[in-house]
C-alpha cells in the first residue's frame, strides 16, 4: 500500500494532470505553493498566477477569469481564503453565481501550533449561509483528488477546505457519490455519528473504542454542504440516536446543518453535538492537535465516554 500523501498534494496532483489538457484551468495563488504547483509553474506557466498575499484581489481576479470561461482555483491559507475576501466572494460568487473554486488549506486545527489566527473554526457557518456556494470538506487524500476532479466542472462556486496534515486513507476504495454528498463508512442500527474532515478519523477511533463495550456506533462522513438532505435524513433514521462531531464552533456548523435538515423534515430523534464549544472559544494551547482537542474535552476517550453515557 502506498504511503498516504497530504490532501493538498493529492488535490494539486490531480489538478496538474487535468490542467495539462484543459487550458481553462488557472491557479490563482496567494503566494502558496505545493510540489504539483511547482510543476504547473514549470510546465504550464500560462496557467498559474501569483497574486501575492492579497486575497481580495485573488477572488476578484479569479472571478473575472471565470467570467471569461476559465476555471480558476484560488488558493490560500484557509482562514484568509475564506474570511478576508468574504464580501467579494458574496457579490461575485454567491450573488453573481460565478463558479470559481476557493481552495483553503488548514481546516480546523491543522495549523496546530500557529495559534488562533491560523485555526479555522467558523468557515462552515459562514460559507454555508451563501446560496450558490458548495462546501467540500475533505477527509483524506483520495477524497481530495475526487473533489479536485469535480471542481473542474462544478456548476457553482466551490469552497474546498483541505486538511494540512497527512491523514490515513478512508476512501481509497470507495466511489464517492457527489449527488449524495456523504458516505456511510460504518452502518449501525444502534447509533450513528456524523463527522467531517479530520474528525472522520476521530469518529472511527471512537467507534473502535466503543466496540470493545459492545456498542455499535455507525460513522457517516458528511463531506459536502449542501448535500442530498432527504437521503441523509433517511440514512440517519436507520438508527434511533445521532451524534455529530466537528472541529468547528457549534453555532452554524456541521451539527447545526444536520439539525436543520432533520427539523425541516420532521425527523425527531435525540442528537448530541460535539465541537469546539457553544459559544466557541479560541485556543492558545500548544503541543499538537490532539492536545488542543483534549482541552475542549474532545479526546477519543472522552467522546466515547460521553456517547456511552448518552446511550445508557
Amino acid at each position: 500500500m502506498p504511503n498516504p500523501i497530504s490532501q493538498r498534494d493529492s488535490f494539486w496532483n490531480k489538478i496538474y494532470e487535468i490542467a495539462k489538457d484543459d487550458r481553462r484551468i488557472v491557479i490563482v495563488s496567494a503566494d502558496m505553493g505545493a510540489p504539483a504547483l511547482d510543476r504547473i509553474r514549470r510546465d504550464l506557466p500560462g496557467q498559474f498566477v501569483n497574486v501575492g498575499i492579497a486575497e481580495q484581489n485573488g477572488v476578484l481576479v479569479a472571478s473575472g477569469l471565470a467570467r471569461e470561461g476559465k476555471r480558476p482555483f484560488f488558493y490560500a491559507i484557509a482562514p484568509f481564503a475564506v474570511f478576508r475576501p468574504v464580501e467579494l466572494t458574496r457579490v461575485n460568487n454567491a450573488i453573481m453565481k460565478i463558479p470559481i473554486t476557493i481552495v483553503g488549506v488548514g481546516a480546523g486545527f491543522s495549523y496546530e501550533d500557529s495559534g488562533p489566527t491560523h485555526h479555522l473554526l467558523e468557515d462552515i457557518a459562514v460559507m454555508r449561509a451563501f446560496p450558490n456556494i458548495t462546501i467540500h470538506s475533505t477527509s483524506d487524500a483520495a477524497m481530495a483528488a475526487a473533489v479536485a476532479e469535480q471542481s473542474c466542472n462544478w456548476p457553482v462556486a466551490n469552497y474546498v477546505r483541505l486538511d494540512r496534515q497527512v491523514l490515513p486513507d478512508v476512501h481509497a476504495q470507495t466511489q464517492l457519490d457527489f449527488k449524495a454528498g456523504f458516505a456511510v463508512l460504518r452502518p449501525s442500527k444502534q447509533a450513528q455519528l456524523v463527522a467531517t474532515g479530520y474528525m472522520v478519523h476521530k469518529a472511527l477511533q471512537v467507534a473502535d473504542l466503543l466496540k470493545k463495550d459492545g456498542i455499535d456506533l455507525g460513522v457517516i462522513d458528511l463531506f459536502q454542504l449542501p448535500c442530498d438532505a432527504d437521503a441523509l435524513v433517511k440514512q440517519i433514521q436507520t438508527a434511533p440516536k445521532l451524534f455529530t462531531l466537528e472541529e468547528h464552533f457549534l453555532p452554524g456548523g456541521l451539527g447545526s446543518a444536520v439539525l436543520e435538515m432533520l427539523a425541516d423534515r420532521g425527523a425527531a430523534l435525540p442528537v448530541g453535538r460535539f465541537g469546539m464549544g457553544n459559544p466557541g472559544s479560541y485556543s492558545y494551547v500548544y503541543g499538537g492537535r490532539e492536545t488542543i482537542h483534549a482541552s475542549y474535552g474532545l479526546s477519543p476517550e472522552q467522546i466515547a465516554a460521553d456517547v456511552r453515557k448518552a446511550l445508557k
Binding site: 488557472v26 500560462g46 496557467q47 498566477v49 497574486v51 501575492g52 492579497a54 481580495q56 484581489n57 477572488v59 476578484l60 481576479v61 479569479a62 472571478s63 473575472g64 477569469l65 471565470a66 467570467r67 471569461e68 470561461g69 476559465k70 480558476p72 464580501e87 467579494l88 457579490v91 461575485n92 450573488i95 453573481m96
Partner: protein, 277 residues
C-alpha cells in the same frame, strides 16, 4: 454637427434621462451619475468602446465594468440610448415590477456585472483583462472607478497586480469628483497626490478635465494600439452633480433625487446648460 458638439450634447441628453429616471423613482445616485456624463458619452458614443447593442454577448466586444456601481442610472441611460433595451424600461427604475434597481445588476443587457460594493469591479476587470492575455484576445477592458472607492484596500491590491501583469489592455477611468457622502475627500482623508500614487503603482497616468469632451477623447483615443507596456488610468477631474448647479459640490446630495420644486429646478438647469449642437 461635429463629433465634439455631438458628444457634449449627448452628455446632457444622458443627464436628463438620469434625472428623469431618478425623479420618478424618488431615489438613485444623481450626483454620482452627473459627474461621469461626459466620460460615458465619450466611451459609448465617441468611438472608444467597441460594442454592439444587438449582440451584448459578442465575444470580441470591449468590456466595460462600472466599478462605481452607484452610477447605475447613468449606465442604464447609456445602454438604453445605445439600444440595448427599450428606453421605456428606465421609467421602472427601482420601482415595483421594474427590471433594475439603485445599484448595477448583471441581468440588464450590456451590464457586465452586479456592482455596488466598492472596490469590487476593478479587480474583476483585471481578471477579464488577464483572461484576454491568456487567450490572445484583442478586446480591451475599460473600467470606471469612483474616487471614493479608492479608500478600499482592494483597489490597491489590484493596482499592484495589474501593472505587474502588464495589463495594457486594461484602462481605468477615475471619476475624480472630490466628494463622498459626508464631505470632500481632501477634508476628511486626503487622496492626493493621486497621480503620484498611481504612478508609483506602475500605471501610466493621464490627468484631464473630466467634463471636457475633447480632453477625454484625447486621453482615451488610441489606447487600443497599446504603445505602453502597462495599464493606463485616466484621472478625470469632475464635479459631483455637474450640470445642476444647486446640487453640485453639496456633499449631502449623494444618493438622493430632487423632488417637487427642486426636481423642476434641476431639470430646468440641465435644459439651460445643454449646449446647442
Amino acid at each position: 454637427m461635429n463629433d465634439i458638439a455631438f458628444l457634449e450634447k449627448k452628455a446632457y441628453d444622458l443627464r436628463k434621462k438620469v434625472l428623469d429616471t431618478c425623479i420618478r423613482a424618488k431615489t438613485g445616485h444623481v450626483t454620482s451619475s452627473m459627474s461621469c456624463a461626459e466620460i460615458m458619452a465619450v466611451l459609448y458614443f465617441g468611438g472608444i468602446l467597441r460594442h454592439d447593442p444587438k449582440r451584448p454577448d459578442w465575444a470580441d466586444r470591449d468590456r466595460f465594468i462600472l466599478s462605481k456601481g452607484q452610477a447605475s442610472p447613468m449606465l442604464y441611460s447609456v445602454l438604453a440610448e445605445a439600444g440595448y433595451f427599450d428606453e421605456a424600461q428606465l421609467k421602472g427604475f427601482a420601482q415595483k415590477d421594474g427590471k433594475f434597481g439603485v445599484h448595477l445588476q448583471q441581468s440588464v443587457p450590456g451590464a457586465e456585472i452586479t456592482c455596488g460594493s466598492l472596490g469590487q469591479g476593478f479587480g474583476f476587470a483585471a481578471g477579464m483583462a488577464l483572461a484576454a492575455k491568456m487567450d490572445l484576445k484583442n478586446y480591451m477592458v475599460y473600467t470606471l472607478l469612483g474616487d471614493g472607492e479608492c479608500y478600499e484596500g482592494s483597489i490597491w491590491e489590484t493596482a499592484m497586480f495589474a501593472s505587474h501583469q502588464r495589463l495594457n489592455n486594461l484602462v481605468a477611468i477615475l471619476d475624480r469628483n472630490y466628494q463622498c457622502v459626508l464631505d470632500f475627500t481632501e477634508n476628511f482623508l486626503a487622496l492626493e497626490p493621486f497621480e503620484k500614487k498611481w504612478e508609483s503603482f506602475g500605471w501610466n497616468v493621464v490627468r484631464v478635465e473630466g467634463q471636457s469632451v475633447p480632453a477625454l477623447l484625447d486621453a482615451l483615443h488610441g489606447l487600443r494600439s497599446r504603445r505602453r507596456p502597462g495599464p493606463t488610468i485616466v484621472i478625470a477631474d469632475t464635479t459631483k452633480g455637474a450640470g445642476i448647479d444647486f446640487m453640485s459640490c453639496v456633499p449631502l446630495w449623494h444618493g438622493s433625487a430632487p423632488a417637487g420644486n427642486e426636481a423642476k429646478q434641476a431639470m430646468a438647469e440641465l435644459e439651460r446648460n445643454t449646449p446647442n449642437a
